[in-house]
Subunit: 345 residues, 3 copies
């Protein structure tokens, strides 16, 4: 390519990151009722707090907005989103604000292939007043620019990350509780039992415009999601789309939820493409009453399936003999959901 075309940004490579570096992510983004309407139109989410008088912005909408802001720096040459940890929403955000995200490099490890490395980033999204709204760590496999080994091959830095967010970090206020008459739900915190599987009974076929509009809405510019010519006719669905669709489906069975408060981890196990139909099921992992709080925390593992309806076999083994998630699982999302206590109604 001729030199005079060099201004178009093509993304960082593994060698471009420095340990301890903090990068301000471009394009602060206003989120408000326009985005909420678009989000509902794309996901069908019905959680009362996020569409009623409370006017709380959907936590996943805030996350996707922030995630999209990081794409230009971290994702353009990414090979894979390897994981998430220590992801916490710090406060409810009411319409409207402007999110600003920065990204701190907290770990670097070159892979043995010499062609890629893993970058660990801690992202922080702040509102227009500078208050922390959401923070999350993720790690991404990124291409190297060259073949020369970096110091992170022999001397990798891998941060210690919690396998579960400590529930002492979750905050819940009486004013956060949805009214029972608004939710339509008959189940409360006390009703959820570890090991229980809740099938959500809705199926959603992914259309090309659905996932692309969702991804554009959050200004995620990774071209693999949009360019059918680049992808042999099969643009990859942004992993955040099944996350939001699955969470929207999970209203059915978790009607008295306040919304996810923290994510312990997540795995994009298998790719989703337009034409796939998404279904979901939640496995209740454990519960924490959060002391005397009016809502308790339920640790949920949300499984979003493609082209498999768990209602047909809710006891299905989710992992194979080697512990690998089965091919029909698109996403496993391990998070703390807050749910009103019956005692607090």
């Amino acid at each position: 390519m001729s030199e005079n075309t060099a201004k178009g940004w093509q993304g960082n490579f593994f060698e471009d990151f420095e340990l301890g570096q903090t990068i301000a992510c471009p394009t602060p983004r206003r989120v408000g009722e326009g985005e909420t309407a678009a989000y509902i139109g794309l996901t069908g989410d019905r959680t009362p707090r996020f569409c009623n008088e409370d006017r709380v912005l959907h936590p996943l909408m805030l996350f996707h907005t922030s995630f999209g802001q990081t794409v230009r720096q971290i994702s353009l040459n990414a090979r894979a989103n390897l994981g998430y940890a220590d992801w916490v929403w710090r406060r409810p955000v009411r319409t409207a604000t402007v999110l600003h995200t920065n990204m701190e490099i907290i770990g670097l490890k070159e892979n043995s292939s010499g062609k890629t490395g893993v970058v660990y980033v801690k992202n922080r999204a702040r509102d227009v007043g500078g208050e922390l709204v959401c923070e999350y760590t993720r790690w991404v496999m990124i291409k190297k620019r060259g073949s020369a080994p970096t110091r992170w091959a022999s001397d990798p830095v891998v941060p210690e990350l919690p396998s579960v967010v400590d529930t002492s970090r979750l905050r819940v206020d009486r004013s956060d509780l949805p009214k029972a008459a608004h939710t339509g739900g008959q189940y409360y915190f006390e009703d959820y039992v570890p090991g229980e599987r809740v099938v959500h009974h809705d199926g959603q076929t992914v259309n090309p415009s659905d996932h692309m509009a969702f991804t554009r809405l959050f200004q995620n510019s990774a071209k693999i999601h949009f360019d059918a010519q680049l992808t042999e006719g099969k643009p990859l669905v942004y992993g955040g789309f099944p996350m939001s669709v699955g969470y929207a489906q999970a209203y059915n069975g978790f009607e008295n939820r306040l919304g996810l408060a923290a994510v312990n981890g997540g795995v994009h196990a298998n790719p989703v493409y337009a034409g796939d139909t998404l279904y979901s099921m939640t496995v209740v992992d454990s519960v924490d009453p959060l002391g005397a709080a009016p809502a308790g925390a339920v640790r949920c593992k949300l499984y979003v399936f493609k082209n498999f309806n768990p209602a047909t076999d809710p006891d299905i083994a989710l992992r194979d003999e080697k512990g690998k998630l089965i091919p029909s699982v698109a996403l496993e999302l391990d998070f703390w959901e807050l749910i009103t206590k019956r005692a607090a109604i």
Copy 2:
């Protein structure tokens, strides 16, 4: 299915309804300028009052919002939407409000098959201050849970419903009139003649994302509209979509309209699927000057066709010899439209 998956709601059956029961429908919904932008993007509606300084929320948008709220209670096990009656918008709503809907069971009749019954519901949508915004009666055929006959087999209760909304219930205020310069229309109330057919000249091909986004926007969660696997590749288009597209098309020829004020009845005569192209035509049934009001009421029968452009044969017989609507009619909507009087300009 194992017991522990029972929390996912699968809908009411015929036996679950009681005469006189009133059900608060979950998920109150804020509607405002975000939803208006989405609505215009999905339908192309150009009616001035609903997109200009007046900031009146589109009556059909309010209806679909309320309808979506009832789906969880009434539609998940529905076999068919049989009809509408006594459907009135009570006041213009200006951006923004939160709609709350409740549903009163006013009739129950078991069908002779013993497998289904008809539930008559009166729905009322109120704004955040509790003022009645829209009320409508509809009746739905719903599956029975079991085979044992109910008392509604031998002793059905079928409400008496008006075949037409009395025009004394329609209210129009001088401040509701659109300015002629804003509408582009040359026809006024006095120009509409009973028997007249107005062809609207626009065609709209339905894409999968169009109808699904529309249906999700209104949090209508009936899975038949979204799940291609469940429906052998042909999700059924929500009947509200051709209603809104047809009404948007009907701007052409009714430019000086204030918006529909009441619906006398409606028939979803034939199903619509993605790929169908929608066209529409209005038959003027009758007119009522509403005394000295600045607008008069025109009783319109809006016919939304699939894959047939009425411009090619505007005199087509809309019903066959047996009185059944022809296969190309997707929807017949019988409503009172308010139109500025020439005398009031």
Copy 3:
């Protein structure tokens, strides 16, 4: 068609326009944050000023809104959009306003075929307070109603139009500058060199719902964009869609832009259909420092390609031997972009 169906408007023909006539375009349109969310969801635009605290409405969104308002009068019987000139945004518009557009007929010329003529219109879009927001001239080939020659065959009036908007008309204020930390861009006004080609590196495949929702959002009712039955399965993509997608892609390489200030001309060189993948490249034509202003003007020629990624051959000849744009160019848009000066940071 029977007489009683005549109310549906079918558009003006060449004979219907009079020189000097000014037409108020129907359907004033409120534009605000709902439309902004929809616009971002459809285009992926990331320009900071148009999505952050500044809350400036996207200039192209304002243009499309106004353009849509003119369709009913000028486009329904149009054969081709021949060109644009003298197109200037007069001031930044902050959320929200209502746009009103009128259209002045400034030129008429019947074509030698006797079947069509060219209508030159000057459009002016004003905000709700009557302040001029955007003005643009375009000329359109329109069908004649009849075969009788008009006076514009022998005595055509063709307005003199500037080939480039004089930069003295461009206004820039210090408060208009995006913060460098918000843009992610490393290039400033001083870095752009005439003759330079900037490849934008993003590809966007057009889905049917994408372009139709975009066109409906702006209430553009030209049926050729929506009706697959009319168009043998290939509705024509509204020319404004590749314009907005290309401009969104051009963020990459022009991150410190303030937004387009004026358009010198534009050519819809080749049609776009659903399934096409859009890429873009900008050729820097010339620069003007606008004296001591904190931003300078870069004259850009934006080329939006279909199914050709200019990154694979950035030096491609854009015109053939006869000076015609090559078949893979969908749009050439010649405009003045304002870009922060390095000296002003």
